[in-house]
């Protein structure tokens, strides 16, 4: 079959890109070669629309061992231990086939982590669905949760945290972002850069089938009416094989047999072989007759583009083949020498003894397109002048109950109870808190992790929203007593060819970048998912931040559960009553206009660091950051977690109660302090110029605010817990 422009366009390439390919090659590519280009030049693999903007992210720091560009980022956690972590999207496949899409998302991100020599120790996920009224939502949620659980539970890695939201902008494009954290010895990290010539290239893991061909190209395009036809592009996961692959790889990694290793993820054998060669400035020769295939008569094109799961490509030291083979055979996995490194700087593919394709590596990698797409600046919206008469018919307690039982705030226990969150025996903070925490096995150290996104804020004003999510992630680390270390980000956006969407991307990124720089919270890995758009309707910009933090002594970990009666709860940070874009405005008043709450990075840093120092000195009995829903929701969550009530002080001055209790001003924490310590704590806060006020006093069972609220914890608990159960199980 000779390749024409039309075939190239059907592969997702643009006219000018096909022309460029022909120019580079000085001929028309054959079908296998076209396959290679389409796999490497699509948005998902080439980052062609995002590359120039990603450069502005801060990616270095004292603790950073490896920033973006590898399979995952690596940070130092002392004593020769390091944490390897990354987040990745699996949005498009999960919408087409939620169980397999989500499952293989989890499988893929775990491989990225253990490829680097790290044993995964925790998983997290950030999942976003359409309106709860949308008829597809329930099944998609069920499928995604089953898929995430089905894969993670089987492998035996605890899922320690996550985030689930509902918004109609996801009706046609759900988001499934999966994050994995792994533990590695600093001197045993494995990289994907191949070195040396004539080294054997090894294929291990599952056999190659026809599943997932063009998965990465599919994720680089918008959806139309024909998504059912795309089912074959979704990969099928096998967690059992992944578990074997994990154990086999870690066993082989105990010595120095491996020169370089790369998982076959998006664009399968194509991207893994080309990336390894490209990083090492080498060539690679592949003999596709040797690739273990599941189906007969697979063509070179299919073998190169298959996205069958649970496969790895390894460059070995010469002479180590037998040893490696033994290990993989013990674990009942396929093992084949399928090629070698060369000095040609080309990828050369042989099939049936004949050379089937030959392309210089740099054409596929360095020469891939890079676009500086047009983008539109998004102005800060004017403040929404909400008519205060709207409040008149509302009662504080009714609003609280409504928010607690709203889809985006209600307890997500229905979801996380389906994930094994305690296997491996080191989970010391379960899902449902500000961050999940796992111990570094056998030490006093622990790692905290959380995923955060705020699509409403990012939609209203991307620059502020971008800053906000980083700050929220930072606060979640502080709230469990961890020092924030670094982040990974998953940038979920609409169609980059539209100026508005591109503008959202550029400005969110600017916000993320500014906040990360200020907070010294660098970005060490991540992924971009564009084209989350169906029939011209795109998602709200949803960058997701996966943050990790470090606890030197896990016994100093804090949680949000109130500890005992008669303690003082302080609000740290100033409450101005910012209502625009709050859940109170959007869900209760149905007012969607106005700017998100302002971010003051100085206050964020100062408040956070001060709270962390108070935690480390043992003064803070419990702590929770104030986010969606504002103060009253935050304190209720603390009460529910600790099964302890609170008598709330009436706010002083002329503040409006609704704005005070439901405003979503940033940079705030609620902290529980024993009466004996209160003066000391106040003096520390004053000394550091941190604004604070007394919010209330803990007491048995009831949440009380004079003249407004008197309600039992049990009643609030029921309201908070039943919404999702009823929605899903009835």
């Amino acid at each position: 079959m000779s390749v024409t422009e039309k075939i190239a366009i059907d592969h997702g390439l643009k006219k000018n890109e096909f022309k460029e390919i022909c120019n580079l090659l000085k001929r028309t590519p054959n079908i296998t070669e076209l396959g290679l280009f389409s796999a490497m030049w699509n948005e998902h693999c080439s980052y062609k629309s995002s590359k120039i903007h990603l450069k502005k992210l801060p990616t270095t720091g004292k603790k950073v061992i490896q920033g973006p560009g590898e399979n995952a980022g690596v940070v130092d956690i002392e004593d020769n231990d390091a944490i390897v972590f990354k987040i990745e999207s699996h949005n498009h496949p999960s919408f087409i086939e939620p169980y397999q899409g989500a499952a293989t998302g989890v499988g893929g991100i775990m491989r990225d982590v253990f490829t680097m020599g790290a044993r995964p120790i925790a998983n997290l996920n950030s999942i976003h669905f359409g309106s709860t009224q949308n008829k597809k939502t329930k099944n998609l949620l069920r499928g995604v949760v089953n898929g995430i659980g089905g894969y993670g539970n089987c492998i035996g890695i605890p899922t320690i945290g996550g985030q689930t939201t509902f918004d109609e902008s996801y009706n046609g494009n759900i988001l499934v972002n999966a994050m994995t954290i792994g533990l590695v010895k600093k001197d045993k990290i494995f990289y994907s850069k191949a070195t040396g010539i004539n080294k054997p290239v090894i294929y291990v893991g599952s056999k190659t089938g026809r599943d997932g061909i063009h998965g990465a190209s599919m994720a680089s395009n918008v959806f139309d009416d024909q998504i059912e036809e795309k089912k074959p592009t979704v990969q099928v996961g096998d967690p059992f094989t992944e578990k074997l692959l994990l154990e086999a790889c870690l066993e082989l990694m105990t010595d120095d047999s491996i020169i370089s290793i790369q998982d076959m993820g998006a664009a399968g054998l194509t991207s893994s072989s080309i990336e390894m060669a490209s990083k090492g400035k080498l060539g690679i020769e592949l003999n596709l007759d040797k690739v273990p295939c599941r189906e007969s008569n697979m063509t070179p094109y299919e073998i190169m583009l298959s996205e069958s799961q649970e496969r790895m490509l390894i460059v070995l030291e010469n002479g180590k083949e037998e040893k490696a083979k033994k290990i993989f055979e013990k674990w009942n996995l396929d093992f084949a020498v399928i090629g070698k490194t060369t000095n040609s700087k080309k990828i050369e593919i042989y099939f049936n003894g004949i050379k089937n394709a030959e392309v210089p590596i740099e054409f596929l990698s360095d020469k891939s397109p890079e676009y500086d797409r047009k983008w539109k600046k998004i102005k800060l919206p004017n403040k929404n002048k909400i008519n205060k008469d709207l409040y008149k018919n509302l009662k504080i307690l009714d609003v609280l109950k409504k928010i607690l039982s709203s889809p985006n705030v209600c307890s997500k226990e229905w979801i996380w109870e389906q994930y094994d969150h305690t296997v491996m025996g080191d989970t010391i903070q379960k899902p449902g808190g500000d961050a999940g925490v796992v111990r570094v096995h056998g030490t006093n150290k622990a790692v905290a992790a959380a995923v955060d996104s705020s699509a409403n804020y990012c939609f209203a004003h991307p620059l502020t929203g971008g800053k906000q999510i980083v700050c929220e992630s930072w606060r979640n680390m502080i709230s469990v007593g961890a020092k924030p270390l670094a982040i990974t980000n998953c940038l979920n956006f609409g169609n980059p060819e539209k100026e508005k969407n591109m503008g959202e991307f550029v400005e969110c990124l600017t916000g993320i970048s500014e906040a990360c720089k200020y907070l010294n919270y660098p970005v060490v890995s991540g992924n971009v998912s564009f084209y989350n758009e169906t029939k011209d309707k795109g998602i709200k910009p949803t960058p997701t931040i996966g943050g990790i933090g470090f606890l030197k002594d896990y016994k100093k970990m804090t949680s949000m559960s109130l500890k005992k009666n008669d303690n003082i709860v302080l609000v740290v940070g100033k409450t101005e009553g910012h209502i625009d874009q709050s859940i109170f405005a959007t869900e209760i008043l149905n007012e969607k206009k106005g700017p998100p709450p302002e971010i003051n990075l100085f206050n964020e840093k100062n408040n956070g660091e001060t709270v962390l120092s108070l935690i480390n000195e043992g003064y803070v009995k419990s702590v929770h950051d104030v986010s969606v829903g504002g103060l009253l929701v935050a304190v209720t969550q603390m009460c529910l977690a600790g099964n302890i009530g609170i008598k709330i002080n009436k706010p002083k001055g002329l503040v409006n109660f609704f704005e005070y209790f439901f405003g979503e001003d940033q940079g705030r924490y609620l902290i529980e302090i024993e009466k004996n310590d209160i003066n000391k704590v106040k003096s520390v806060l004053q000394k550091n110029s941190v604004y604070f006020s007394e919010f209330g006093t803990t007491q048995e069972k009831n949440v009380v605010l004079k003249d407004e609220i008197n309600v039992t914890i049990d009643e609030l608990m029921k309201i908070n817990k039943t919404w999702l159960n009823n929605y899903m199980d009835n």
Partner: protein, 227 residues
């Protein structure tokens, strides 16, 4: 005391149980599924996980593995054999214990703390234990115990029911049944009480910083009973 933990491909609680056993004073060996001989053991454990991916039926492939004949021989000669979660499923698949473990009632994987009442303390596992209600952790998709009426009658006559899902005070009621198990069964013994199969994971409850400490109580007591 010598313990052996059998490791199948797909086991994933093998490390956790080994850590727990060592913590409370057992010497422990990990035994690979392709081994044929068991080392001399006072206790053999079939750990939780997804042996062979649980692809056929949970525990079914493991019940045909190479090592299993030695395990059966060990149990038949009176050795203490404990199966936790997937281990319990393997025990029913080998017919060392009666009944089967079906898919949970609401077709959901469940990971949470539960209370279980100890129903029989006249055995090496629970003799002298300081509490009669334990707070343990479950994490399974197929823990819905089922057996024939005849088998149930026989088990009751022989006092083979080990653990029952209950509330914190020990009240056994369908309300506290997380997975639909017959009679709220969370664990059972063999006739001679040397084999124990249970869905809860005591090995995940061995420190106050984890989900709880009642697992410690179980292991300490077990070791004392064996001394």
């Amino acid at each position: 005391m010598n313990s052996s933990v059998i490791v199948f491909p797909g086991s994933n609680c093998d490390r956790d149980i080994a850590i727990a056993l060592r913590k409370f004073g057992f010497k422990n060996k990990m035994i690979w599924h392709e081994d044929v001989e068991l080392p001399k053991s006072d206790l053999v454990v079939l750990p939780g996980g997804f042996s062979y991916g649980d692809y056929l039926r949970c525990g079914s492939m493991a019940s045909k593995s190479k090592i299993i004949q030695s395990v059966i021989k060990f149990a038949n000669s009176g050795g203490l054999l404990m199966g936790i979660c997937n281990g319990f499923q393997i025990l029913t698949e080998t017919s060392l214990l009666p009944g089967v473990l079906l898919r949970n009632k609401f077709s959901k994987f469940i990971c949470k703390n539960v209370f279980v009442k100890i129903n029989n303390i006249e055995n090496n596992y629970f003799k002298n234990i300081k509490k009669n209600v334990l707070n343990l952790h479950i994490a399974h998709n197929e823990g819905n115990y089922f057996c024939s009426g005849e088998q149930m009658k026989e088990m009751q006559e022989n006092n083979q029911i080990a653990l029952l899902y209950c509330d914190e005070k020990g009240e056994v009621n369908e309300k506290y049944n997380p997975n639909g198990s017959s009679k709220n069964i969370a664990g059972i013994f063999s006739r001679k009480k040397n084999i124990l199969g249970m869905m809860p994971h005591p090995e995940r409850m061995i420190e106050k910083y984890l989900s709880g400490e009642d697992g410690s109580l179980f292991f300490e007591n077990l070791l004392n009973n064996l001394k």
